[in-house]
């Protein structure tokens, strides 16, 4: 008996080599990234599925154009994939009405909420720095800005975040 997807004409042959491995490995991390930026798990999953669908459509160019090894454990994210997640997430952050507590404990939820309250660029830089453990050079590549700009955002973001936490927790 054919599955529902097979009935719709979807076959596994349509999935290019290497994508599925990347997808399995990167999905959770991308959802986590989008989740802390949007504050909403379901929005995050939807964003990541959109991005992965787009990545699937041009998988060959992603794999070759920038030399990103999508399955490499040392490569935090495929840059071509991370960028649209970040861009879409910053837009969706405005649309996400009520942040949901999904999986994360309250202190962690509060921490990311404080990060999201920072100016958009600072929040993105902090999330990439802490959550993805990226260098300023890597962040600059993703956000398509100068490394010095990333350092400024990082410093200001840290300072603002520390200041807020002193006010609210001390």
């Amino acid at each position: 008996m054919r599955s529902g997807l097979e009935v719709l004409g979807v076959s596994r042959r349509a999935v290019p080599e290497g994508f599925e491995e990347f997808y399995d490995q990167a999905y959770g991390r991308l959802v986590g990234l989008a989740r802390v930026l949007t504050g909403d798990h379901q929005v995050a999953e939807d964003l990541v599925q959109d991005v992965c669908a787009a990545a699937l459509g041009r998988w060959d160019s992603i794999d070759q154009s920038r030399g990103v090894d999508p399955c490499c454990g040392h490569q935090p994210l495929g840059f071509d994939v991370a960028t649209p997640v970040l861009r879409a997430a910053s837009v969706q952050a405005l649309a996400a009405s009520t942040p949901r507590s999904y999986l994360l404990p309250e202190p962690t939820e509060e921490f990311w909420a404080e990060v999201r309250a920072l100016p958009r660029r600072q929040a993105q830089v902090l999330v990439l720095h802490y959550l993805e453990d990226l260098s300023t050079h890597q962040i600059a590549s993703i956000l398509e800005c100068a490394e010095s700009t990333v350092r400024v955002h990082l410093t200001r973001g840290r300072r603002a975040l520390a200041g807020r936490r002193e006010l609210t927790h001390d």
């Binding site: 989740r35 802390v36 939807d46 459509g57 999986l103 994360l104 404990p105 520390a162």
Partner: protein
């Protein structure tokens, strides 16, 4: 002077916790992505986007009907789809369209549909947005579609479309107690 040293350890701790939690998130089958059109413009709300993700397979299943008994496009009469065992709209397996060709029907611009539609007894409604198209899957109860872009479940609070500027709606088909409605945003 603000001390950021304490922040560093806390940030690393929360990041590590987040990473470990989200490493366990299971992706949907990759085949699902194949059927998921890329979005060049995202205008729906987060809720709509989430709903679209949930019901996309079911939507495309229904859109694949070249001709569906009970199609009331162009009229304002009622439809009464057959009651079947499988009525959940969110999974391809529950829709079951064996052997049907996948030929999405053409939506008509500027074409409105106002009417009342009675569907099966479950109580679910899903709304999705894909680029400029609005897709609904509804099950359960009786629904009234209005030309101002609202869908009201009779004797219940109205459910608004994701965009108030929706101008045209069309019932695309019914299958196993599920009604799919599509339209264009103006």
């Amino acid at each position: 002077m603000t001390d950021t040293s304490n922040l560093e350890s806390r940030a690393r701790h929360h990041a590590q916790l987040t990473r470990s939690r989200y490493a366990a998130v299971v992706p949907p089958p990759v085949e699902q992505l194949v059927r998921r059109p890329a979005r060049s413009r995202r205008r729906g709300t987060g809720l709509v986007a989430a709903a679209a993700a949930v019901c996309m397979v079911g939507v495309w299943s229904l859109l694949g009907q070249p001709h569906v008994p009970g199609d009331v496009a162009g009229s304002s009469t009622q439809t009464e789809p057959e009651q079947t065992e499988s009525q959940h709209p969110t999974g391809a397996d529950s829709i079951q369209l064996p052997g049907r060709p996948h030929t999405p029907p053409q939506l008509q611009d500027g074409w409105g549909l106002v009417g009342e539609y009675q569907v099966s007894t479950t109580d679910e409604a899903h709304v999705g947005a894909e680029d400029d198209n609005i897709i609904l899957i509804v099950t359960g109860g009786t629904y009234r579609l209005s030309s101002d872009g609202t869908m009201a479940r009779v004797a219940d609070a109205p459910t608004r479309f994701p965009s108030a500027c929706c101008m045209s709606l069309q019932v695309l088909g019914t299958e196993q107690g599920v009604v799919a409605v599509g339209g264009h945003r103006s």
